[in-house]
């Protein structure tokens, strides 16, 4: 969108040509449409993903506002929406969850950061397959359109939860949203296709297109994380794609894959969904950890504590994540003996994740910590994610999950993981790479106001929800007035605290949006390497032109050589000869 005027870099035409590479002629005289809508430039595609994700984030947030308002003040007129009926409530919750996971977390963390960072950090000019990359975004865009249409068709949007358990999701007579369910499913399937295409591109680019001299252990952690996440995604989503086809056929052609009356099995879908669904949470966790690792090393001027440890724990997390799925189904009617196996694997997965947390904390040791806005976000990620992580153990323990399953305790658990990942870490990344993306700085004061205005209400939204969960409050219920134990005023008070906090938090997002848009055009001009960081993206101009580098960089060392003894500078860019 915004292309600040300070194009300090000369046109990409002056780039030195590497072996075989034809002189770059692209990037110069492209028309507006070509440049912004049909560009194959990885940075343009990254921004398209970013802005689409942010736009969807606002929709998802609006939905959260609407149904939280209904929960705090049941039956009242929600400003900006109206009275929420039970089926509207279900549709709002379902689509809030789907949007936040599939159309905010995935596009922003994987696609936007992946597209932006991978070629720049690897020191090449684009993705290995630029046109495939554009296709990925186009498919994704289509999925957005289909999803948004699904909200407004007759019968209303799909309301069977983001997990879409059949038979509710497979038969229109049960869900009463014939068109909504189908369009929702199609949208999700298209989104999967987009990320499969994108993932293939990420993986091949990282394997093959690294700058000369960049060995495997010289790759910045965030790139590793995005690649591992793409692989985990690729390996876990396949069965669900097959499952989605079966569900679609059940909806449209009357097959009986999930219909027990005719030989099908509803639990099959649950297994396929969670075989994907659980790895999926680590698909978004890993890139977030990667972003946080980059930010923390730069602003504490420290080498990452145990680069290889981080890499191996990430791989271990990815692998173990394939063996825990049934912890979502402890009480779903599976053989109870299976629960014991899945309890063990689930609790064990805390080991690699804990290791990741320990490494990030240990990196701070002996550092020279500068609390800039991106650093605040990165630190907040760690502080908050620990809470989300450890509450997972109550759920992983099969015995206590009997009580906690499908209560707001689960809900608070995963918002304490998802919000740090999809909101907090994303803000860390956005504020950190903003100067590179737009060539200008964001305002620090506004950034800090936004930070505190988000973090404090975030906790006061979800701590009450933990308490409500312990009180036995179930999910996806539009009004608790029918349940004497839950309708008590002291519990209603907690709901009101959560909702009011949400409204406060959303108001503070306006500060961010203002800061973001204003800084794109008016912010202080950024130099190439404002944070004095080592990785290759800071070698390119801010913002980098099409083709990225004037001279293709060569790599001499790992990405985290900060504060190396006997050097004047406390950083040592990867491309600087010794």
């Amino acid at each position: 969108m915004a292309q600040p005027a300070n194009q300090e870099a000369p046109g990409s035409g002056t780039r030195q040509s590497e072996t075989l590479a034809p002189p770059a002629g692209h990037g110069e005289h492209e028309g507006f449409f070509k440049k912004y809508l049909f560009s194959t430039d990885h940075k343009a595609i990254a921004k398209q993903y970013l802005f689409t994700g942010m736009f969807m984030g606002l929709i998802g947030a609006f939905m959260a506002y609407t149904f939280r308002f209904q929960l705090a003040f049941p039956g009242s007129h929600v400003p900006g929406f109206g009275v929420v009926s039970p089926n509207e409530y279900n549709a709002l919750v379902t689509n809030h969850g789907s949007i936040m996971v599939f159309w905010v977390a995935m596009p922003v963390l994987i696609a936007a950061f992946g597209n932006y960072l991978i070629p720049l950090m690897l020191g090449c000019d684009d993705m290995a397959f630029p046109r495939l990359n554009r296709l990925s975004y186009q498919v994704f865009f289509l999925s957005v359109v289909v999803l948004l249409i699904s909200l407004f068709v007759p019968g209303g949007g799909f309301g069977g939860a983001w997990t879409a358990y059949p038979p509710l999701s497979s038969k229109a007579e049960y869900s009463l949203t014939p068109l909504g369910s189908t369009l929702w499913l199609v949208a999700v399937a298209l989104e999967f296709v987009a990320f499969l295409i994108g993932g293939i591109n990420f993986v091949t680019t990282t394997m093959n297109s690294r700058a000369p001299g960049m060995k495997l252990y010289d790759i910045p952690i965030v790139v590793w994380m995005i690649v591992i996440a793409s692989l985990v995604f690729m390996a876990s989503v396949g069965p669900l794609v097959a499952g989605a086809v079966m569900l679609l056929f059940d909806q449209l052609f009357g097959t009986a894959f999930y219909d027990p009356a005719r030989g099908g099995d509803p639990l099959l879908w649950q297994h396929l969904f969670w075989f994907f669904g659980h790895p999926e949470v680590y698909v978004v966790l890993l890139p977030a950890c990667g972003i946080v690792a980059e930010v923390i090393t730069v602003f504490s001027r420290k080498k990452l504590f145990g680069y290889k440890t981080v890499l191996y724990t990430a791989i271990a997390t990815g692998i173990v994540s394939f063996f825990v799925w049934a912890h979502h189904q402890f009480v779903a009617g599976i053989d109870p003996r299976m629960a014991n196996v899945f309890t063990a694997t689930t609790v064990i997965i805390s080991l690699p994740v804990a290791e990741m947390v320990f490494v990030l904390v240990a990196t701070l040791y002996g550092g020279s910590i500068k609390l800039t806005t991106p650093m605040l976000w990165a630190l907040a990620f760690i502080a908050e994610f620990i809470i989300g992580g450890v509450t997972g153990l109550f759920l992983g323990a099969s015995g206590s999950d009997i009580y906690l399953h499908d209560t707001y305790f689960v809900l608070a658990h995963f918002h304490y993981t998802f919000v740090p990942i999809a909101i907090i870490a994303v803000f860390a990344g956005l504020t950190y790479w903003f100067p590179k993306m737009f060539g200008r700085h964001m305002n620090e004061t506004l950034g800090k106001i936004h930070f505190w205005g988000t973090i404090i209400p975030f906790n006061s939204i979800f701590i009450p929800l933990f308490l409500l969960g312990l009180a036995g409050q179930h999910r996806r219920i539009y009004s608790y007035e029918g349940f004497p134990e839950l309708a008590r005023p002291e519990l209603q008070q907690l709901r009101i605290i959560a909702t009011v906090s949400l409204i406060v938090m959303l108001c503070f997002q306006l500060v961010f949006l203002f800061n973001f848009v204003r800084s794109m055009f008016r912010g202080r001009i950024a130099e190439r390497n404002p944070w004095k960081a080592n990785t290759l993206e800071w070698v390119a101009a801010s913002p980098p032109p099409h083709g990225n580098f004037e001279t293709m960089p060569t790599v001499y060392r790992g990405p985290y050589e900060y504060s190396v003894p006997n050097r004047d500078e406390d950083y040592w860019p990867q491309n600087q000869p010794a």
């Binding site: 293939i200 394997m207 069965p239």
Partner: protein
């Protein structure tokens, strides 16, 4: 006008080949999920065997043969491409496409007969799996044929010959999927 990124090869494997392998890997899990679901049901339902008796094993076997032959010509196309004989490679690819077409024609006759006999997608679980799995596979056959048509066009004028191998690899994958489908759907009676 390929970007430098496409031409680099840190692993020593050409980027295109790498991408096709990853594509195949991602497809394997899709078919894997579908076939695993089928096998789970198959084990639990002995009556699937009776339903499977209504499939046309001879047609399936013939189709297996057709696909294997077409894979062979894909290999020959690759060989020709290696030697730089673009037009020959293109002709071999066209032969492979022909194989795909024969496969689809035989399939359509099979399906017509089965649907006439009253076995449709929604008849029972076996037939649902049968049509879904074979249908998904047929879509891949079509996709492979389209891709090969494009590659063959380029190969005629000796352009992008490395792609001959890539579509070939993809075609072998499609072939192998069928090798799994055939016994699971036709023979296991």
């Amino acid at each position: 006008m390929k970007p430098i990124a496409t031409t680099r090869s840190a692993t020593g494997i050409p980027t295109g080949r790498l991408a096709v392998w990853w594509l195949i890997a991602s497809e394997i899990v899709i078919f894997g999920g579908l076939l695993a679901s089928y096998v789970m049901h198959r084990i639990g339902h002995a009556e699937f065997g009776d339903y499977a008796a209504h499939t046309n094993t001879w047609a399936g076997a013939f189709n297996t043969l057709v696909l294997l032959t077409s894979s062979l010509s894909a290999v020959l196309a690759h060989e020709a491409a290696e030697k730089g004989q673009g037009p020959r490679a293109a002709r071999m690819l066209l032969f492979t496409i022909l194989g795909g077409a024969v496969f689809l024609i035989v399939k359509s006759f099979e399906w017509t007969a089965e649907i006439r006999a009253g076995y449709t997608l929604a008849t029972n679980m076996f037939w649902s799996f049968y049509y879904t799995a074979a249908g998904l596979h047929a879509l891949h056959v079509i996709a492979g044929m389209v891709a090969m048509a494009f590659v063959a066009r380029d190969a005629f004028s000796n352009r992008e010959l490395q792609r001959v191998e890539l579509v070939g690899n993809y075609w072998h994958f499609v072939d192998i999927v069928w090798i799994f489908l055939f016994p699971l759907l036709y023979i296991a009676k």
